[in-house]
């Protein structure tokens, strides 16, 4: 199983990119390639999913959305307190890091889909809506946790920003959409108008409402070449992940361990919800587990730079991109699949 997972082109290309950096190859991907590919990937799964969902059961869809929100809001809180316990990071770092784990990684999700396809395991389409839904809530929780952290820390320069009155002048002066009560609305909007969310949900709607004839013309683009593009994307992301792991020494062992334990906790929660609560098949359960286990490295980092500037970016980037992402792609997915088999089988 784990073997057949490792013999999947998508996974092998991720490994290739990872190894390329480890052996210090001068292989460089053009700065925008990953961005272009991720827009394509989100567009393709969105269209595809929307097309399927148009035929799906509304009740189950809404139910999945609700549980996606619960996972999105819940896991960061678990992560936050777990991090506080490690005593290795200050509360603001903890808030920023945990936000990443509440959100999701489309790259990991798609690798899991490829993994299931390869094994011939079928799955529901509902997890796709959950993917779309789970991008944003974690960002919001992250901000709330950060606001809370600032109060506990009571940093003069920052206190004001949670009690609007305090530094109203400053906030109004410079800090549109920054943290601070009066800007919370702006941040909420940011969380829900996040680029990835717009592409994914927008494409789902288009996939659902456009004429079948129109959709037919898109399939060669969104279906046939999809796997190849995914491989290229994972190829580059493998090298990016390897580059990030270079900062490991900064992160340290304890924090590094968090990057592996947290997805396991998330995966377990996700699998239980998928199997017991939503009653999905083995495939669908695996995907929900992957959603809960994966950490965002596209949507959340910029959001945290903006809203929790005090947090150290190399912490959350190294954890989500350098540790959790590779762990899920290589080890996690087969594991969550096995777990799903236990729970559903």
């Amino acid at each position: 199983m784990s073997l057949s997972s490792l013999l999947l082109p998508a996974v092998l290309f991720f490994a290739l990119g990872f190894i390329a950096k480890l052996i210090k190859s001068d292989l460089r991907f053009p700065p925008d390639l990953a961005k272009i590919l991720s827009i394509y990937l989100l567009m393709a799964i969105g269209l595809h999913g929307g097309y399927e969902l148009a035929k799906s059961d509304m009740m189950t869809a809404l139910n999945s959305i609700m549980w996606a929100l619960i996972l999105g809001f819940g896991t960061p809180i678990i992560g936050y307190y777990a991090l506080i316990l490690t005593r290795k990071v200050n509360p603001l770092d903890a808030a920023a890091i945990s936000a990443h784990y509440g959100s999701v990684s489309a790259g990991t999700f798609l690798t899991a889909v490829a993994y299931l396809d390869n094994l011939g395991v079928t799955y529901e389409t509902y997890p796709l809506i959950m993917l779309a839904v789970m991008e944003s809530p974690a960002i919001i929780v992250g901000l709330l946790l950060a606001a809370k952290a600032r109060q506990t820390l009571a940093q003069p320069a920052l206190e004001g920003t949670v009690s609007p009155g305090g530094t109203a002048v400053i906030s109004d002066d410079d800090d549109h959409g920054g943290h601070g009560g009066n800007n919370f609305a702006a941040l909420l909007r940011d969380a829900f108008t996040n680029g990835s969310v717009v592409v994914l949900i927008g494409s789902m709607i288009i996939g659902a409402i456009s004429t079948p004839a129109g959709m037919q013309k898109l399939f060669p683009f969104i279906d046939e070449i999809f796997m190849g593009v995914l491989c290229l994307f994972l190829f580059e992301m493998g090298s990016v992940a390897a580059r990030r792991i270079g900062d490991f020494r900064q992160v340290g062992l304890v924090l590094g361990a968090f990057g592996i334990v947290m997805p396991l906790i998330g995966g377990l929660l996700g699998a239980v919800i998928g199997a017991e609560v939503l009653g999905f098949s083995v495939g669908g359960t695996t995907l929900v587990a992957v959603l809960a286990a994966s950490a965002s490295y596209i949507a959340v980092p910029p959001a945290m730079r903006l809203a929790v500037p005090e947090a150290n970016p190399s912490f959350y980037l190294t954890l989500s991109l350098g540790i959790t992402f590779p762990f899920n792609v290589i080890v996690g997915i087969p594991l969550y699949h096995a777990l799903a088999q236990q729970l559903v089988g």
Partner: protein, 106 residues
């Protein structure tokens, strides 16, 4: 012989996540324009702008009259106090058309 007039060049290097906010504040400080260059780099907050380009830096340049510089710098300093990672430096430059740099952006 072209006559040259002194101006200040404000340089800001930071994450592109902050772009919109910086621009918005510029207009408040009556700048006549700005230029943005894409950048990568490394500093106290570690490696920024890995090859993926998901997480890129920007190098913002603003030419403005010396007398207006302080207000902008103060607002940038306030941001830094809030934790934002801004690498700011000022240079002396000379321009041919001073009026071009004193008429604020619409």
């Amino acid at each position: 012989m072209v006559t040259l007039h002194p101006m200040k060049l404000i340089n800001i290097i930071t994450s592109d996540a902050l772009e919109e906010k910086l621009i918005a504040s510029f207009k408040k400080y009556g700048v006549s324009g700005f230029t943005i260059l894409r950048a990568r780099g490394e500093g106290s907050s570690g490696l920024e702008a890995d090859s993926s380009g998901f997480d890129a830096n920007i190098h913002v340049k603003v030419i403005m009259p010396a007398e207006r510089v302080n207000a902008l710098l103060e607002s940038l300093e306030r941001r830094m106090l809030k934790g934002y990672h801004l690498t700011v430096f000022v240079a002396d430059v000379q321009v041919i058309t001073p009026e071009k740099f004193t008429t604020p952006l619409r």
